[in-house]
């Protein structure tokens, strides 16, 4: 606690430090849940952000398309060192996982047809479905407040998975209805 908690003077780490810190987070955030690793790295260890700013940037990341991990890297990098900071933060975050997945693709090309590999991959695909459902429940716990919200969820899922509606149409139509449903009502008639 050597620094005073003044949000007006953000820290100025070097570009190399930004790259290094995000590279470490990109390499160690195993098993999803990157948000937890980001908070530990950025708020607790480096003290580049306070918790209030972290939550605010996270809410931008979650509203916009794009993955939370990369969106957060861009927003934090930009706050610390502008555009170059954003680029290096995102690059560091993606580099380890991308390298591993490219290596995995080559290994798969060589040994993917082996029945043992197939048995293993079959198992992790089943486990991954469980993980996705947990992510969905956690996301839902934050945003689903009233009965109509659940109707929007089921209508969107049924349209896409049941009737094969293309995601962009579902996104635009269901999104427009849902946003209209939650429209600001305090000052009716003004735009």
């Amino acid at each position: 606690m050597s620094e005073s908690p003044s949000p007006s003077a953000p820290p100025q780490p070097s570009l190399w430090q930004i790259f290094r810190v995000f590279l470490v987070m990109g390499a160690t955030s195993l098993g999803g849940g990157v948000v937890g690793y980001l908070r530990t790295g950025l708020v607790v260890r480096q003290r580049w952000l306070d918790d209030v700013t972290f939550v605010e940037l996270l809410s931008i990341s979650q509203t916009l398309p794009g993955l939370n991990a990369t969106n957060m890297s861009i927003l934090v990098g930009d706050r610390l060192r502008g555009g170059r900071g954003a680029l290096l933060a995102m690059f560091g975050m993606c580099l380890p996982g991308a390298t591993l997945m490219i290596a995995a693709a080559y290994a798969y090309g060589v040994g993917g047809d082996d029945p043992w590999s197939k048995a293993f991959l079959r198992g992790i695909a089943a486990g991954a479905v469980g993980l996705i459902l947990v992510v969905m429940v956690q996301l839902g716990a934050k945003v689903l407040k009233t009965l109509p919200d659940y109707v929007f969820v089921l209508a969107t899922a049924a349209a896409v998975a049941g009737f094969g509606v293309q995601v962009p149409y579902a996104l635009v139509v269901a999104g427009a209805v849902a946003i209209w449903w939650h429209r600001p009502r305090d000052r009716q008639g003004t735009k």
Binding site: G31, G66, I124, A128, G130, I132, V134, L139, W180
Partner: protein, 180 residues
């Protein structure tokens, strides 16, 4: 060259659908990479996606694996850039405007409204993935166990997913024959 163009187009398009996370783009990812362009088979897509959950960092680095399968290292690079550049620029721009939007009256409506649609898209992705991955009771049971475990405990998700793979190996060793 045409292939790299296709990769760029597909992943740039998918990038904009990732509202609420990478899974929201899964239905279109399946349609385009499996049914339209025949880059990979549906089981291969499931394998890459699940392996991607085990890799560190953002959970959609599997786009690099698809790119590499289609067109080697240039394919991987194009897939990554196409998948992260459009939303990256959008986030960069909106991040700078955000303070001006803080008091915008429609902001909470957009946040809550898109939130419920995002949950629906993730559910759709899980259903489509489940149709391919949960082909019998053993694998459906595995998904349920992983779901309950991750919901009730704070265990790192990598462990139960690797354990699922080991159970898959065990089933193969025991010559367990999936019903489908």
């Amino acid at each position: 060259m045409k292939q790299l163009g296709d990769i760029a187009g597909v992943f740039a398009y998918l990038s904009l659908l990732t509202v609420g996370g990478g899974m929201a783009a899964f239905p279109e990812l399946k349609t385009l990479s499996v049914d339209t362009f025949h880059w990979i088979t549906f089981p291969e897509l499931l394998h890459f996606y699940s392996l991607g959950q085990l890799a560190p960092g953002p959970n959609m680095m599997m786009v690099a694996a698809i790119g590499a399968t289609v067109a080697g290292l240039p394919g991987a690079a194009v897939a990554l850039i196409a998948f992260f550049l459009p939303t990256g620029l959008l986030t960069f721009g909106v991040g700078r405007l955000w303070t001006h939007l803080a008091t915008w009256r429609w902001r909470p409506a957009i946040q809550v409204g898109l939130g419920s649609v995002a949950v629906g898209l993730v559910l759709a992705g899980a259903i489509i993935m489940g149709r391919g991955a949960l082909t019998d009771f053993l694998y459906a049971g595995l998904a349920v166990v992983v779901f309950v475990l991750l919901l009730k405990t704070r265990i790192n998700p990598a462990y139960p997913i690797v354990a699922s793979g080991l159970i898959g190996l065990l089933a193969h060793w025991l010559e367990y024959a999936p019903t489908i």
